[in-house]
Amino acid sequence: MAVKTYNYTGLKCPMPVLKTKKELRNLTSGEVIEVIADDVGAKKDIPALLNKSGDELVELREDNGNLIFVIKKA
């Protein structure tokens, strides 16, 4: 199953968090999405969001200044 990718590069706080949450609200439990952001604050902010929501950060990797989050809906 192809994982949907959402590209939030160029966006700054709080937009990557707000947009990620908006997508998470539409998912069903167990679904996985990929989020790309280049706002340095997102490195801590998106994990903080997931920590609060209970959704799982499956993977966080960096690629050429981009942060790539793989997120699994709780």
Binding site: Y8, G10, K12, M15, L18, K21, K22, S53, G54
Partner: protein
Amino acid sequence: MAEDAETINFIVKDKSFEKFAMMMILGTTGDAMDTKMNFFFTFWGLNLLKKKFKPKVAGMPTPMKGMAAKMFKKRMKKFGIEDPWAMIKDAVDNGNMKLYPCQMTMELMGIKREDLLDWVEDPVGAASFLEMSNGGRIVSL
């Protein structure tokens, strides 16, 4: 989703662009984090709830305050913040962000309910705010 009943309560007492932006960013992010947030607007902060009010940048020298607000707005648009009030409205509609005008200071400053945005909460007094804040944190912006 919200597994705890913790609320964060903010007092907004200034009408500056900076305070507006802080309110908008914290309120919408709090909504994303399923945190209940009450914002209590008093004194000059009430202006932020007025229809068509344009906040100015307090930190700039007087002749540049309005221009700076336009410049910041434009720059924030590039950051993805297209319509701050629409974002606030979403957070309010989700039930996580509540905007309360302070009744007494409205009267003190001659501000009427119909001057304010229709969809903010009805004005409340100090006791109501403290009661709804009970057990939560209160932060003055």
